[in-house]
Symmetry: C2
Subunit: 385 residues, 2 copies
């Protein structure tokens, strides 16, 4: 298959956009990406979204956004993999260009979660879990993650405060990201005093939802030249893997098998090792997920992901910078859009456009987007080579 | 890209399956397709579904069905394009194999519409239309199609009874399809006496919804050999096109531009003309859509699609047999599954497995799956060559 490059990126501020609809938010990010790419149209559009049928009463987002941004009589379709929907759209666009089917594709992740026409958002989010065997028991997503975190602390002997570094790092970086939802630093003291949501997860372990959209334009790599100050961003690896829907079906609820397998496949495809990853935008929906992702992807031994936070290895100056633009925790988690924010943010890092949170010399970046409690995981590696 | 063949097909009876869940219906079709293919696993799974978030409270159907049929640690994702979701899943599976990314892919279309946990089904179906500019005005899908049919009758001078042949043909064929929902013949008299739903659409102009699932296994064509009585089924063409979401945005509401463009592209890819199509499974959600599809795809002049019914050209012995297994009208319309039923039915025809409704010597078949009121249209051509 052909090598593919990212020609343009775009995003909206994550937040409660009471004044803007699903259509307007997604359109803004899509048009920003097209403008950044210097194009006025593409041959195919792939939309990642989880909640619009439930929250906005709207399906068929492929044609919906094609219509809104003026791309008619093209291929346009929606992909859904719960909170992994954004990366699923990116992967579909990647495959369309890599296979030679089209020469230009737009991947758009979009979610409108406030000003809902329909469902309660917590109930809508629960549709990512197993309706018959998890949700029916009354468990919510924060509840599932709380059970995992409790078990992790029990098995490996960590205290709740040991997880604080993940949230502190994310908030510190979000201060410098104009597209982030929570642009304020937090302290260890504030973390520890924060309200308990579902023991042991407190408010500052959990990422905030929000409205948001992020997009990227993909083209064959040979159509793009590196320009001074704007290196060519190559998509060097892509892998999607699933696990059981229900956490209780897994042999080991503390190991993200689909994260491990998809990362392993990406390392092979890109020809890199974990040591060579300069920046890693992981799926920190809850602080426990940061630890589990770092372990599954080979950055820490089992049960030792938390230590990377305590040793400052995850900051922009550390060994494996994560959440460099705020992560889900502080940039915000507009669920079906999150995977595309991760792509856009790593592209910013590789272009050297990350401002005060720039990882110096970043040339190899990884994203990992998780749907459900680890049931759908998509990993990508971007490089400037 | 590589040539791709259909190695296995499977389907469930369309109906009100009060005793079987979303999981069980989809799993039955998927496992039937795997069994027909002689495989016990695939490398990737693509699920087409429209309503499960609303009706079953379930998202993330890729991982969900992967888990249920025992395909873990593989790629699995859901595609949604309203009632075009089934063909969207088929096209994604096709691209995955054609591009060389995987050697085996399963496409599954599935819809559970009865025994709903959540929304009213008519309201859920309306999410395929434009929520802000169509649904907000109170229009339903039957309402939109009624406006189109009324305009068509006004423009071209047809009477309501002139459309009866479409429904009579579909019902006559469904009698012989054990997977069809309405296995009973209807007469012109019964058609004309049928209850009016939304003038001029009466009950027998409209397709019945239902629970159902259909699936196909795709592999590289060079891995398949034709066997006596079981010819190799090649996917010779695939195209997806969009139009405006809202019917009122179109220059001409009586012409399905995306049907025309996708069919035209498929004819070019497959190197065939409309005259060479032996069987055409079109999207007869309402009888007016049969006429519009036949016209857009080159089988009739503008305004003359109805004439094909009146002249018996659409029966299994006619010039362009349609709805040979009952169509949406009588096989039933489990919305997100319908596109996969069309694929399975054309494959049956090309294999010579269509029993009493076999089109003699069928070697080239076409499917056309429509999402919304023509906003997302996917066309495929299958051949035995």
């Amino acid at each position: 298959m052909r090598q593919v490059a990212i020609l343009g990126i775009g995003q909206t501020v994550v937040g409660e956009h009471w004044d803007r609809s699903l259509r307007e938010i997604g359109g803004q990010a899509a048009l920003a990406a097209l403008q950044d790419a210097g194009l006025d149209h593409v041959q195919a559009l792939y939309v990642g979204n989880m909640l619009s049928p439930l929250v906005s009463g709207q399906n068929q987002l492929g044609a919906f956004f094609g219509d809104w941004i003026g791309i008619w009589h093209k291929e346009a379709v929606k992909l859904e993999a719960a909170c992994g929907s954004g990366a699923a759209a990116f992967r579909a666009a990647l495959m369309a260009v890599a296979s030679g089917d089209v020469d230009t594709a737009l991947a758009l992740g979009v979610e409108k979660m406030t000003d809902k026409a329909g469902h309660d958002v917590t109930a809508a989010l629960a549709t990512a879990a197993d309706a018959d065997y998890e949700v029916e028991q009354g468990v919510s997503f924060v509840g599932l993650n709380a059970l995992i975190m409790q078990r992790y602390m029990h098995e490996y002997g960590w205290k709740h405060g040991d997880f604080a570094a993940f949230s502190i790092n994310a908030h510190a970086n979000a201060v410098h990201n104009p597209f982030a939802r929570l642009r304020e630093k937090i302290t260890l003291e504030r973390f520890e005093k924060s309200a308990m949501i579902a023991t042991p997860i407190n408010l500052l372990d959990a990422s905030p939802i929000g409205d948001g959209a992020a997009a990227a334009v993909l083209v064959p790599a040979d159509k793009v030249k590196s320009a001074p100050g704007k290196p060519r961003i190559l998509v060097s690896a892509s892998a999607a893997m699933t696990d059981t829907m229900a956490v209780h079906s897994r042999k080991d609820p503390l190991f993200l098998t689909a994260a491990h397998d998809s990362a392993r496949r990406c390392y092979e495809m890109a020809g890199v090792t974990p040591d060579e990853i300069d920046v890693f935008e992981l799926h920190d929906a809850f602080s426990i997920m940061s630890a589990l992702s770092l372990e599954a992807c080979g950055f820490a031994e089992r049960g030792q992901g938390v230590r990377l936070g305590l040793e400052d290895a995850i900051t922009i100056h550390g060994r494996i910078p994560i959440c460099t633009r705020g992560g889900l925790k502080a940039r915000g988690h507009p669920v079906g859009a999150t995977g595309m924010y991760q792509i856009v943010e790593v592209a910013q890092q590789l272009r050297g456009e990350a401002g005060r949170t720039q990882v110096q010399g970043a040339a190899v970046g990884m994203t990992q987007n998780i749907g459900g409690s680890g049931a759908s995981i998509l990993t990508h590696i971007l490089t400037t080579k």
